[in-house]
């Protein structure tokens, strides 16, 4: 009984194939988009478990110390939730201190080792310690994510249906809104509609003033010229945020005050209502002593595997062969080498980046993992100091915080 090859395949006609292809492509793109979203609910389960653990640990901790929490914080499974009533609330979650205004509702969970503060409404102000190599802390207000490394800032989500107002007083955060990322540094604010704007708060350490009058906004950001601890009452959104041009004296002469890449950081002399001048904040790029591109080039790069091939194309073919047939370190090195040769010898940076992205996905623990991340930084940041560059540098910094190039990566994350 020899039947192989005796049943020919009747092909589908073009129209049927086109219809199938159209439905498959539509479904596949949906699946890719959903894939990103679906990981949310999957993480929610983890978050819920983590939150229960946090809540249980908190209860045990409080019981051991024999003292109730300083503020009425409702910690209930499945997540650590805080819903404050008429008074402000202060929660220390270890990684950060969260202060919230009255009638603020948020949940704290720990997905994948990071911290997620998901807001329903109200306003929180956070003081976050340096997170080092740990995953970042994220404050989520609707469809806006504020990604924090270590800083001090506030997020105002109003009644939960309106705008998000992010103000940074120390350090810097990344605001991710509708898949666009904006870096907000100290002295800057970001709002859903206005985007990045300058605030009167300089980079001096600011104090958080607490209003004791019930019902009044409890958390305010004090300007540099204001004495610490003095309550302020920014009940309404400051004019500086309502009209960012008017907020910056001489804005007509200095349009760069509204920071938008690739313009420089907000450096216009702003004055708060009290008339006291605030310090200007200079970005890393304003420092003439810092030649970032030179610093990038000065960093050693892991070389490609030397196969003594005279041509780059020939070398790549052999790397392909090794990557396909070997495993472990050899495949990792060959895969990395494809990217290195494409970048250094062929100048095909787009292809090199594609290969590096694939490498990072395929070899998360690979020997050349850090080298691949750094090569991404090098390619992207030598091309343009933009958000992609900063994101790559950020990733590298957190994957290789002890590497010689980490300080360069850190500087890159602080560029404007």
């Amino acid at each position: 009984m020899k039947l192989a090859g005796r049943i020919p395949v009747e092909p589908l006609d073009e129209e049927r194939l086109t219809n199938i292809e159209r439905r498959v492509v539509t479904g596949a793109v949906d699946a890719a988009v959903r894939g990103h979203e679906l990981r949310g609910p999957q993480r929610q389960l983890g978050r819920a478990v983590a939150a229960i653990a946090i809540a249980a640990a908190g209860v045990v901790g409080w019981a051991l110390h024999g003292a109730p929490p300083a503020e009425p914080v409702a910690a209930e499974p499945p997540a650590l939730r805080a819903q404050t009533s008429a008074q402000r609330s202060v929660i220390d979650i270890g990684d950060a201190t969260i202060e919230s205004t009255p009638d603020t509702a948020f949940a704290v969970t720990r997905p994948d080792g990071g911290v997620l503060v998901a807001m329903a409404r109200g306003k929180v102000e956070l003081e976050v310690g340096k997170r080092g190599a740990r995953p970042p802390l994220i404050v989520r207000a609707g469809d806006t994510d504020v990604v924090v490394v270590g800083t001090r800032f506030s997020v105002d989500y109003g009644d939960g249906s309106g705008e998000v107002d992010v103000r940074v007083t120390e350090g810097a955060v990344r605001v991710v809104h509708q898949q666009r990322e904006t870096r907000v540094a100290a002295g800057q604010a970001w709002r859903t509609r206005a985007g990045l704007v300058a605030t009167a708060g300089g980079d001096a350490p600011t104090a958080t003033a607490t209003a004791t009058v019930p019902g009044a906004p409890a958390v305010a950001l004090a300007g540099a010229g204001e004495p610490r601890g003095v309550p302020t009452a920014p009940a309404a959104v400051p004019a500086v945020l309502r009209d960012h041009k008017a907020a910056v004296p001489g804005a007509a002469d200095a349009p760069a005050a509204i920071a938008s890449p690739p313009s420089r950081v907000v450096a216009a002399p702003a004055r708060p209502a009290g008339g006291q001048p605030v310090r200007q904040r200079a970005a890393v790029r304003d420092d003439p002593h810092v030649d970032l591109r030179g610093a990038i080039r000065a960093q050693p790069v892991e070389p490609a595997l030397d196969l003594h091939e005279p041509s780059a194309a020939g070398a790549i073919t052999r790397y392909y062969d090794i990557a396909a047939h070997q495993s472990g370190d050899e495949a990792s090195q060959a895969f990395y080498s494809i990217a290195a040769v494409r970048h250094f010898k062929l100048g095909r940076n787009a292809e090199a980046l594609q290969t590096l992205d694939a490498y990072v996905r395929r070899f998360p623990g690979g020997k050349e993992y850090r080298a691949a991340l750094w090569l991404r930084v090098r390619i992207l940041c030598l091309d343009k100091l933009d958000d992609r560059c900063r994101a790559a540098a950020y990733t590298y910094l957190h994957q290789a915080p002890d590497s010689p190039a980490a300080h360069v990566a850190e500087l890159l994350t602080q560029t404007e």
């Binding site: 009984m1 192989a4 020919p8 498959v24 479904g27 596949a28 894939g35 073919t317 392909y320 992205d357």
Partner: protein, 219 residues
């Protein structure tokens, strides 16, 4: 489960597959289209031989590729992408066969050579009709088998895959697959003993007789 077979071209294709999958995972429609077009012919051929026709092919092919794209993140490049996609398609076929209550019928074959079988002098038309009738009767017997046995037999005997490859696609052991193929073969031989058309079709003398599809691509 092997990596890509040897050969520079295959190696390049393997790495290109890796890059293509990454592009698909970002939801890039062009990459999705490219992957579909790269693999649709082989998957369709495999499913055609399993089902014996194109009757439910649109739904099945679509379902198989949607499954592929939904699970693409889980492909870790340990098997070749083609093998992995075939495995997904075979799983879809298995579900399809399991859910079908009625016997699988092949597409109706045109009857342009009707009567040729009865011709006193069998010519090309008669052989073609014999082959077509033989295929119909073969799939009628296959329809009586369990989905696993049918898949094992069609993948190995009709699609020409090795037992090891068929076992891998079925997620089974080589021994179990071999047993299923053997049982299926016995069942078909028993049917052929009572059916001269099927017996004629299975005879080695009939080897090489294929059913031509005018203006259509070769398998």
């Amino acid at each position: 489960m092997g990596r890509a077979p040897s050969g520079d071209v295959t190696a390049v294709l393997y790495v290109e597959d890796v890059l293509l999958v990454d592009r698909c995972l970002t939801g890039e429609p062009a990459a999705t289209r490219e992957l579909f077009r790269r693999h649709r012919g082989r998957v369709h051929a495999c499913l055609f031989r399993v089902l014996g026709g194109n009757r439910d092919m649109d739904d099945l092919l679509q379902e198989a590729f949607l499954q592929v794209f939904q699970s693409l993140r889980s492909w870790r490049a340990e098997a070749s992408l083609a093998t992995w996609i075939d495995r997904v398609a075979v799983r879809c076929a298995y579900r399809h066969l399991s859910q079908r209550a009625r016997r699988i019928a092949t597409d109706p074959l045109d009857d342009d050579t009707a009567g040729a079988l009865a011709s006193p002098e069998p010519g090309p038309g008669a052989r073609r009709q014999l082959a077509r009738d033989g295929v119909v009767r073969l799939y009628a017997v296959l329809g009586e088998l369990s989905p696993a046995a049918r898949l094992a037999f069609t993948l190995h005997e009709l699609d020409g895959r090795s037992l090891a490859e068929a076992a891998e696609l079925l997620g089974s052991t080589v021994t179990a697959t071999k047993l299923r193929v053997w049982r299926a073969r016995k069942r078909i031989e028993a049917a052929a003993a009572a059916d001269p058309v099927l017996r004629e079709f299975l005879e080695p003398s009939a080897g090489g007789t294929v059913i031509p599809f005018a203006d259509r691509e070769a398998p």
